[in-house]
Point group: C2
Chain length 243, copies 2
Amino acid sequence: MNNLAPSSPSIKQRSRLLNDPCDRLRDAIVSGDFQPNERLVEADLSLRYGAGRTAIRAALATLDQEGLIVREPNRGARVRLISAREAFEIEHVRNALERLLARSAAQRAASDDLDDLQAILAAMAERLRESDSFGYMQLNPQLHRRIWRISDNQVAIKVLVTLKSQSIRFQYGTILRPGRPAQSLREHEAIVAAIAAHDPDACDAAMAEHLGHVLETLQWAIDSQDRQRSWSSREEPTLSAPA
Amino acid sequence: MNNLAPSSPSIKQRSRLLNDPCDRLRDAIVSGDFQPNERLVEADLSLRYGAGRTAIRAALATLDQEGLIVREPNRGARVRLISAREAFEIEHVRNALERLLARSAAQRAASDDLDDLQAILAAMAERLRESDSFGYMQLNPQLHRRIWRISDNQVAIKVLVTLKSQSIRFQYGTILRPGRPAQSLREHEAIVAAIAAHDPDACDAAMAEHLGHVLETLQWAIDSQDRQRSWSSREEPTLSAPA
DNA sequence: CTGGCGAAGATTGTCGACAATAATAGCGAC
DNA sequence: GTCGCTATTATTGTCGACAATCTTCGCCAG
């Protein structure tokens, strides 16, 4: 249940604190150490992480259930390539669940919670003033996770965490849209305001509006990348992570 | 990824489906062959299903990810006991996702889809006329699943299937409420009507109303069982399946 | 009689080896 | 030169055995 805590896996910090090959492999995949569709050979992973093949096998089973890899019988495991279409499906599910949690958060928020939310908002505004889009992007999930914590629906949170790790590859492109961070901040402020007012309906609406724009931005990012790719090669209608 | 498609045309799937200890164990758990909190000893399962301990271990890993069992390190696996609180959380998530899918279905439904839905509705009305509550209850998930198929959001469907298997234990009590089946049928008819009218907003609202009543009924069933249990024994505030 | 202490039993976690299967390379026929 | 077949190789799937750990039972002191 604690696997939703890490909030800054950006730097390649090989923390020896976590020896579980499952967590390490997961981090490696979501941070892009393995290319999409790359084969994951059990023996290699066993060597790489200094764990027995049994542990690697268990890790692969877990990651398969989480949707990060695909396993074909007798043909091994590959890191799963999320199609643009599936990214939209994921985003729609996220939309529905975040609205649910926003609603709950508006009903349950205490003053400590509101203080934290305001602090995160202030930090986001600061990053925006410094034109630090990357810093802003890192704060974004932090705010959402704080809202999740207020809502206190463990089931929904677990689903959201799993989905997030699957679609992380698409997260990078969405911040490049001109003017998006400023708009995003205003939307977040509206959400927090609705939580502070303990108004579930308004909070639901604010979150719906926010995520609707996220969906649009995702569409924009995918179109943008597709356009770029049409110069060099033509492949499946899927995306790879930006280098 | 095909493990949620009932129409998957895989050839050797049948022989595998019957032999795969993971599926068999899952069926055994959701159908109540194992009591909640009952220990699942690997050696026993290995004997029971004629599979090696390795396969059993893989199955346990999968079912742990699905939330049907809990595994404590060096202490083995137990079938997970879903608390009443968690049942509510699950139902809320289901609520959000079913509304999403209902919306999508209203936009995408073709005439074949509508025919199937009407056929299921007719069958439900028939069961109701015969006062066959159990038969009605069996048709219920069939209708919802058909709606899922129309919506065609594989990600949401997979989440819903997983959640369903977790909360199946609470399904039995909800049909015992007097007058509930008749009301349920009317709500289902409203949902299908909204789909037929290709009206996403109306469909969302109809589904929300339906699942709101399901939530109420779940509350009623839990209260009802709690009241019954206070006669005989005092235990944790959780529920077991009716014998 | 109760409560700690230690040994025996039961169960899980891990490793290595072998069998089963898919991918690949090599060879021969046309 | 290319196609098809076979042998080799690489990789996964499965099994048995052993070590690590937890649980239970029996024993003994107080």
